[in-house]
Symmetry: C2
C-alpha cells in the first residue's frame, strides 16, 4: 500500500482504529484491516484489544477511546463482541462503531428460521482437542521435514513443497500446517539435483503430491544476499540458472508451480490448496 | 422444493454453506464459520471457493450452488468479493447471500467522508515484501530455536516460551512467528533444570521476556502417551511432578504463565501478546 507522503503529515487524515473482541481479536483485526486497506489516504493508529468480555472491561476501553477522540483522532471501532451488556457499554464510545457480526447474525437467524444459540457465545475457532493435536502434529512434522532434513514418513505427507533455496518454502509450509493441520514436507532443489530429467529420487515416488515454487531472479538474489552477501550463491547469474532449471523440472514432471514474488503466504497457501484439492 | 427420492440424508437441518472470495477466502471462511458456530442444530456442507474474480468464475459458482439448492440444501453464501459485476452475478444464486464486507465499507465511507479506493480492490493481508521477509525470518528463527536447540542470538528474541515437554510450546511459537513476525525461542524444562530456585542459566538473562506454559497432568499424560506409550515419561505421577515444579519456577521468578489445556493456539497467542505487550 502506498500512502501519499503528504497524508502522513496531515493530522486531519489521522484516525484511531480499534479492533475489539470478547475472544482473541483475530477476526476483528483481520476484517477491520481488510476494510481499512481501501482507504489509503488515511493514517490509522491501530489498537487491538482482545478479551473485552465484561462491562467493566468495556468501560475501560471506552475511556481509552475517549482520550483518542479528545486528541482529534475520530475513532473507528470494529467489534465482534456478542454479549448484549458489553456491546451496549461499547456503544457509548465517542466514535463510529462497526459491528462485524451482529447484523450478519440477524441475517442468518432469518435464513435459518431460528435464533442463535446463547450457549455458544464465544467464537472458539480452533479450540477443540482433536484439532489442537492435529495442528501440533502437523507443525512438528513440518519442522522435522523442513529443508529436506528427513525422509522419515514421507509417504504420509499430504504435500511436498519443492523449490531452490530461499524461494519461500518454509513460511508457506508452516502456514498450511498450522491453519489446516496438513502434513507437509519441503524439499530444496540444489545443484546435485541437476542435470536430470526426473524428480530427485527421494520425492519422485510422490510426484502427484509435489508443488513447486519459483520466484524472479532479482528477488531471489536479494533474499540470498541477506544470508550470504556477495556470494556466488546470491549472484544474479546463479539465481537465474537455478530458477530456470527448477521451472524446467516442474514442467517436465507436471508438477504444478507458482511464482512467490508477488504473493503473500496466505495467497500461496490458498492456490496450493485449490490446485491439489487439499481443502478439508 | 424437490428432494430427490435417492436422498439418504434428512435435509431438514442440512444446509450448504459457501465461503466465496476474490482473494484467498480466509476472511470469508473464518468469519462465516464463526457465525455458523452459533447454530449447532444444523449440519453445514461447507465449500470454500477462493479467487472468484471474474463474472465467468462467478457464474460457475452459481451453477454449483444451484445444484445444492435443487438437492434441498438451501444454500447460505458468505462473500467478500468486491467487484460490482462479480457480486451482481453471485446475487443471482438461489440462496441467502451474506455480504461480509459491502455494508461495512459503506459505513466506513460515511465515517471517513470519502469513497473506498477503486485500485485497492484486493485484500492483500500480508502481501508486501517487508512483512514477507519479517515473517520468513521469524519462522526460520523459531525453527532454529525450537525446543532449546540453539542459544545463538537468544538476546534478540522478542519472547522465550518455557514449559515442560509436550505442553504446546511449538504450535504457539509458530503461530506468533507467522502472524506477527516475532522472534521466538522456546525452551523445554527438563529434570536437569530442577531443583533450582532460578531460571535455567541459558534463559535467566532474559527473564523479562519469558512466558511459561502449564497444562493439567491428565492432559499432559495423554499427549505424552501418544509419543511414548506406557513410559515413565508419560506417567501421571511424572507429569504431575513436572508441572508442579514448572509452576513453582514460574512463580518464584515472576514469569507469567498460562494453562494451555482448554485454550486454542490463537487464544494462547492473544494472551501472551497482551501480557508481554508485544502487539505491534
Amino acid at each position: 500500500m502506498t500512502v501519499p507522503s503528504t497524508a502522513s503529515l496531515d493530522t486531519t487524515n489521522a484516525r484511531a482504529a480499534y479492533f475489539l473482541s470478547d475472544s482473541t481479536g483475530i477476526t476483528a483485526e483481520t476484517l477491520g484491516n481488510a476494510l481499512l486497506s481501501n482507504f489509503p489516504g488515511f493514517v490509522f493508529h491501530r489498537h487491538t484489544i482482545p478479551f473485552v468480555d465484561t462491562v467493566k472491561g468495556a468501560n475501560d476501553v471506552v475511556r481509552q477511546i475517549a482520550r483518542d477522540a479528545d486528541a482529534g483522532l475520530e475513532p473507528i471501532i470494529f467489534t465482534t463482541t456478542k454479549n448484549a451488556a458489553v456491546s451496549a457499554a461499547l456503544r457509548t464510545a465517542p466514535g463510529t462503531i462497526i459491528d462485524l457480526l451482529g447484523g450478519h447474525l440477524t441475517e442468518l437467524e432469518a435464513a435459518l428460521g431460528t435464533t442463535a444459540s446463547e450457549q455458544l457465545g464465544q467464537f472458539h475457532m480452533l479450540g477443540d482437542a482433536t484439532q489442537y493435536f492435529a495442528r501440533m502434529r502437523a507443525v512438528e512434522y513440518a519442522i522435522e521435514h523442513d529443508d529436506g532434513q528427513s525422509s522419515r514418513a514421507l509417504d504420509i505427507a499430504d504435500l511436498i513443497i519443492v523449490a531452490p533455496s530461499r524461494c519461500g518454502k518454509t513460511p508457506t509450509t508452516m502456514y498450511l500446517a498450522l491453519q489446516y493441520g496438513l502434513l507437509i514436507a519441503n524439499y530444496p532443489l540444489t545443484d546435485d539435483d541437476f542435470p536430470t530429467d526426473g524428480l530427485p529420487p527421494l520425492i519422485a515416488p510422490y510426484a502427484a503430491r509435489c508443488f513447486g515454487i519459483t520466484t524472479t531472479p532479482l528477488r531471489l538474489s536479494q533474499v540470498r544476499h541477506e544470508r550470504r552477501p556477495d556470494s556466488t550463491y546470491a549472484s544474479l547469474a546463479q539465481c537465474t540458472l537455478e530458477l530456470r532449471r527448477a521451472e524446467d523440472l516442474y514442467r517436465r514432471n507436471r508438477v504444478p508451480f507458482l511464482n512467490s514474488s508477488t504473493k503473500s503466504v496466505e495467497e500461496m497457501s490458498a492456490v496450493i490448496l485449490q490446485t491439489l484439492r487439499l481443502r478439508p
